[in-house]
Symmetry: C2
């Protein structure tokens, strides 16, 4: 069992993903500012995990508050949400989590401050549990799309480490393997942050699922050689029309999939769907520090004076996507209709 | 001026490409075994440079020989060629260079041993000079295909560092810039060996040609954003039908180019064309050490117990290629006819 993040008596505990695969160490945050830092520095990453981390960070900030009235607590909550909201712009789950915590506050603001605090802490923990349950449901739906045997390619890490547990894309693979399907995973290493080689390979190895790591630029050759029967990736934000923002390089994989007639699947919880974004052009793309590309393991790989680009995500247009797997079922083209239908099925959990 | 490799009185001197871009150091080889090692370890790499290095290694081995008769020298030459020929399997220039040195021997074997030795040394030096001249001719032909301004993507390093000087793909870019075209180069970093970030960026920076390094998996997003107007890469072997073996990831770039309607060009000397290979399926693909993928700058990035693939090259089928630029002119589809025609134009240099 992988404990990506947990609410503990001592604070919010994170498995430090920057240290994997060679060191399994944990970081405990005692303030919401510390949680904002671990999100920004990618100690925790992956859209669903960022959502749960944001909720727990907010709960932590509220717990630490000395406010004595709901009104004072609300002002602090807004400041806390502002700090958490400025960490990473692309994953919509971050803003979904903030909104859900704010809505929770509104529903219980008539109660005493100690009860409001407790209610928000419980809401964050509920979001953690719900995320795992959503991934397991996604796995059941998505497993039916996986081949009975053969290679399945994934990009980045959309696994237990990108969620509260089990994973979205890797949850689909896990569920397929649990059903007896003989899947061999090809994991793109996923430059520049190497989530594929460091994280996906690590968690699949822990589960005994056969995995081969390849450089991102080997995916085309593997497809041409017939080694890949399906592709499944996660998502950081899904627009109303089915365009998907995901880790940089996902679009390249989707184009290769089309060229080779290989189905390209996206697995993500309903919280990743942003109906307010009409299409992918409206999704903000985070630009990260150039040093992630120019330096590896502290070693300079690009000469001084040469420019570097480092967009963390790209957008895969809906027409490249065979299906989007959610906890509420599988959406297919036309996605504007199917996604809206699945989103409406979302069960609101009230206190 | 970049001195990739040179024949000197002290031996064959190589710019150590494994140390770039942060250290500019040189390695001098005194034996053909040492030359075989620097080819194998990629101190020198790039198909045309490997060809010239092989010729110089053979000349060095012959120079060191104590054989007193042409017959004894021939037996040693065969052994030397055998050592050099076992370094890297994909670049056909290696075998072309061996054949050319053997043919030179045959033409002058009636002479005294000292003259044969001198003739082979001169042949290797001539191949060095011819390679630079071929690249400059390639540049003149290819520059006409480059856009007047805008982004040109290249993969791996097909530059001065991959040749005796000037470069094949980068020679085309250099010639276009010399003609006044305003080109901004996008250099794929080219995992696992990072020839793009370490070598292409370094030599273009030295020439003041604007360059942006991107991770390989960003190329698709850059094309979709309209930043790339043309693509030009080198080749390690070109089959008779126009299929091209080049650095792993080239095929992915070619598929992306097709999807975006961007012309994809290959620049390579005639010595890279292997008419004995009918198509790409007959080109042997070198598998290199898994550690090139699993470890970067000495740091382990893939957990123990997980498999890694590391094919050094892939094959881009001819139908993805807009044109092949050689020193004898530009070949277009149908390549089986155009390549044969350009190959027949090759001017044999006799002693």
């Amino acid at each position: 069992m992988i404990h990506t993040l947990e609410w503990t008596e001592q604070g919010v505990r994170f498995l430090d993903q920057t240290k994997l695969p060679t060191e399994e160490t944990y970081v405990t945050c005692n303030t919401h500012e510390q949680v904002a830092d671990v999100i920004r520095n990618m100690v925790v990453r992956g859209a669903p995990a960022i959502g749960v981390a944001a909720a727990m960070g907010i709960a932590l900030g509220v717990k630490n508050s000395t406010a004595e009235s709901p009104g004072d607590l609300k002002r602090e909550l807004d400041q806390i949400c502002d700090v958490i909201g400025k960490t990473r712009p692309t994953a919509v789950n971050l803003f979904w989590a903030i909104r859900r915590m704010q809505e929770k506050f509104e529903r219980i603001r008539i109660r005493p401050v100690t009860q409001i605090k407790q209610g928000l802490i419980e809401e964050a923990q509920r979001m953690h549990a719900e995320d795992i349950a959503a991934n397991q449901a996604m796995g059941r739906h998505g497993a039916t799309l996986m081949p009975a045997d053969g290679g399945v390619l994934t990009h980045c890490n959309a696994g237990a480490l990108a969620t509260a547990g089990y994973g979205t894309a890797l949850g689909v693979i896990r569920a397929a393997v649990e059903e007896g399907k003989k899947i061999h995973v090809y994991a793109d290493e996923t430059r520049p942050f190497l989530q594929g080689s460091r994280l996906t390979a690590w968690e699949l190895m822990k589960d005994g699922i056969p995995t081969t790591v390849i450089s991102d630029n080997m995916a085309g050759a593997m497809m041409r050689q017939g080694k890949i029967k399906a592709i499944v990736v996660g998502a950081d934000r899904i627009a109303a029309n089915g365009d998907v923002a995901n880790k940089i390089g996902t679009y390249t994989v989707a184009v290769l999939a089309k060229e080779h007639g290989i189905p390209f699947y996206v697995a993500a919880p309903i919280s990743t769907v942003d109906l307010a974004c009409l299409d992918g052009s409206q999704i903000p793309i985070e630009q990260r520090n150039a040093q992630e590309v120019s330096h590896i393991a502290g070693k300079q790989m690009v000469p001084d004076g040469v420019a570097v680009e480092n967009p963390a995500f790209d957008v895969t247009p809906a027409q490249y996507i065979a299906a989007i797997i959610t906890e509420n079922g599988i959406a297919r083209s036309p996605f504007d209709i199917s996604l809206r239908k699945l989103t409406a099925q979302e069960v609101e959990v009230h206190p």
